[in-house]
């Protein structure tokens, strides 16, 4: 395991099974909000605040805090609805994939200009979304070439403070209206009916699964003739596979809160998580090696199989489907 990465904590399967027995037949939207989204955002606020509060620029102190913040983000990153959609926050927190290297370019420009005025909170929030957030910090904490000087250090702190601000704003936005919009839908609200709120969550679940298979794994997989290991997410900080694992764990909890009785779906999650555990390939470098590549392809297939189980089992039980038009293309 790379230095600074805390061990992955997995909920005991027996405990999960007990929780499933104890839950009501249809926990649904309120359960997702109270047991998944709100605690997840509270942890993101706390973890990003802890990173922002770290004085100095010792990488050995900053990196573990960075990983905790990234871990906390993965617990809610799939909830692409509500306050995270506003003011470009979702992009500003995690600008990836970035095929044109916009983040690198924007950050290089900031470092070259070394303008102290840009570091003020109200200026930092106006900077390019590509330069900010977790991937802006990754480039500063795991730089390709050593960074020198006080400005890089100050930029780390400005970036971390900006990240903590966004996390706090998102959490506040959930408490100040969005949680109620989901749990008490009706005229004038973002969701008109319970069915629409359930559909929004099911869509987030399916989209989150596809992001893991098609982007986090699919981008480095590239094609057999042209694998693209350099495209792996968070490669510099050595957490490409970890991001998939933590996202799948979060999505499994999300699914279980949305519909406690979903044995096919939960079994599909377990299969994929087991395959991910066996990979032992933190940066997914194995995409370029035929034998290891196959294992990563199989993991991507296992994740697609979770999505298929969600659509076959959960969608009808919740009385929703992904959108009629969204699923089309014309």
């Amino acid at each position: 395991m790379p230095k600074h990465l805390p061990p992955l904590r997995r909920p005991a399967l027996a405990l999960l099974a007990l929780a499933m027995l104890a839950a009501p037949a249809r926990a649904d939207v309120a359960q997702v909000v109270s047991d998944h989204a709100l605690p997840g955002y509270a942890r993101l606020t706390a973890a990003t605040a802890a990173l922002a509060a770290e004085p100095g620029c010792d990488p050995n102190r900053l990196r573990p805090l960075y990983h905790k913040a990234f871990d906390a983000w993965l617990a809610v990153a799939h909830l692409r609805l509500g306050p995270v959609e506003d003011e470009g926050r979702v992009l500003a927190i995690a600008f990836w994939p970035d095929p044109k290297g916009l983040g690198q370019k924007a950050q290089a420009a900031l470092l070259a200009a070394a303008d102290p005025a840009v570091l003020a909170p109200d200026r930092m929030r106006e900077q390019s979304v590509a330069a900010r957030g977790l991937f802006g910090l990754e480039r500063l904490l795991y730089p390709a070439a050593p960074l020198t000087g006080d400005y890089a250090c100050a930029l780390i702190h400005a970036n971390a403070a900006d990240l903590a601000r966004m996390a706090a704003e998102i959490e506040a936005g959930w408490h100040d209206g969005f949680a109620a919009a989901l749990t008490a839908p009706g005229p004038g609200g973002r969701y008109l009916t319970e069915t629409e709120a359930r559909q929004a969550l099911l869509t987030a679940l399916v989209t989150g699964l596809e992001f893991n298979a098609d982007q986090r794994l699919g981008r480095p997989l590239g094609t057999f003739d042209k694998p693209r290991p350099e495209r792996a997410e968070a490669r510099a900080s050595g957490r490409s596979l970890r991001d998939v694992q933590l996202s799948l764990l979060a999505l499994r909890q999300f699914a279980q809160k949305l519909l406690p009785q979903s044995p096919q779906t939960q079994a599909a999650f377990d299969k994929a998580l087991t395959a991910a555990d066996r990979l032992q390939d933190p940066t997914l470098a194995g995409v370029a090696d035929p034998q290891n590549r196959l294992k990563i392809e199989i993991l991507a297939q296992d994740i697609h199989a979770i999505r298929d189980a969600v659509l076959a089992e959960m969608a009808p039980a919740l009385g929703v489907s992904v959108g009629f038009n969204a699923a089309d293309g014309d």
Partner: protein, 355 residues
């Protein structure tokens, strides 16, 4: 621009329907839908979204077009289409049914000539997806009278320019398998907007710059000054963020970018587009993003509104009416989206303004 607008208004006044569209009871919109039992319908709707008539469709519908004089509209099947229905909109009944000739497939859209004598249908040659406009004699029971080339692959929407018999065809650029819609040429696609003269010749072809070659030009909204707003669907790397609104002006295309994070909310896909001549706003829907994005008439970004599976859109009053796959018909203005009516139907891709 002012001159063209003035002349357009003059022409519109002189071309007012003698009878028909003004009749009480004619719907404001047509829209296709699917019901809970899986059956497909074409509905005529009032401006507030109430149903005036519902006609069964043999399969999934897509868009429709209105006759310029008679209260008649033609509703098209979703591509690859095998039927189009001619509807008497005042009575809400089907009066003719068209089928493409062998080896041709309807592509979901069509338009009438200015005098209403000819219906043009967007079609492909089934093998290879070469674009064709089918010509039908609207005065003689919609007899097939010929076809023209569209100057591109996989044509989708087609509109007639104001004050003109010139047609604009959105050649989406995508070759598809005639059986299952599989896309066959994404790496080499080259969409364009082609202007077709009344003689059937391709008068001009406008393309996007090379880096946007995978931005499929698909749906069109006419502006009264002679420009055309085009909504696109990005087929390239999903991680790239590209403009989804392009303005056509005198055979040139200008992409109109929005801020990156606003574009991201559209998920690289625009399903429909409409222009409101009262407010000068252009609106694009994205069912994949669950968003409706509003621009000004120069293409400048104005606002993003959220509505899951929103797709159909048409101008109405000082705003728009939006339909979605969850059954809601909503009004949209600068204040936001407001539901007008909830139905048990999944509203399909387009809401077509009539009259």
């Amino acid at each position: 621009m002012q001159r063209r607008g003035f002349l357009g208004a003059l022409l519109a006044a002189s071309a007012l329907p003698r009878l028909g569209w003004a009749d009480a009871g004619s719907p404001a919109f047509l829209a296709a839908a699917k019901d809970g039992a899986g059956a497909y319908w074409l509905q005529g709707l009032t401006v507030t979204g109430d149903t005036l008539f519902a006609l069964p469709l043999p399969a999934r519908g897509h868009a429709a077009t209105a006759h310029p004089v008679r209260p008649e509209a033609v509703a098209f099947a979703r591509r690859p289409g095998t039927f189009a229905l001619v509807i008497d909109c005042a009575r809400g009944v089907e009066i003719a049914r068209l089928a493409p000739p062998p080896g041709r497939q309807f592509n979901g859209h069509g338009v009438f000539s200015a005098d209403g004598a000819v219906l043009y249908t967007s079609e492909v040659v089934a093998e290879g997806s070469a674009g064709r406009l089918g010509l039908w004699d609207a005065a003689a029971g919609y007899r097939r009278i010929g076809e023209w080339e569209t100057g591109g692959i996989g044509p989708h929407d087609v509109k007639r320019l104001p004050l003109s018999d010139d047609l604009i065809v959105a050649n989406g650029g995508i070759a598809t398998d005639p059986g299952d819609r599989t896309k066959l040429n994404i790496a080499t696609m080259r969409p364009n907007l082609a202007r077709i003269g009344a003689d059937g010749r391709v008068a001009a072809v406008a393309e996007l710059p090379g880096e946007l070659a995978q931005n499929s030009l698909r749906h069109l909204a006419l502006l009264p000054d002679g420009r055309v707003a085009c909504a696109t669907q990005w087929e390239g790397d999903a991680a790239e963020i590209v403009p989804l609104l392009t303005l056509w002006d005198a055979d040139r295309l200008t992409p109109c970018p929005a801020p990156d994070f606003e574009l991201l909310a559209m998920n690289n896909y625009a399903g429909s587009i409409a222009f409101n001549a009262v407010t000068g706003r252009i609106a694009l829907t994205s069912p994949k993003g669950g968003t409706v994005q509003v621009h000004d008439a120069r293409g400048g970004f104005v606002a993003t509104h959220r509505r899951a599976d929103a797709c159909g859109i048409a101008a109405a009053g000082a705003g728009f009416v939006v339909t979605d796959g969850n059954g809601t018909i909503s009004a949209l203005d600068d204040a936001g989206l407001r539901p007008l009516r909830q139905t048990a139907l999944a509203w399909d891709n387009h809401l077509v303004a009539l009259g």
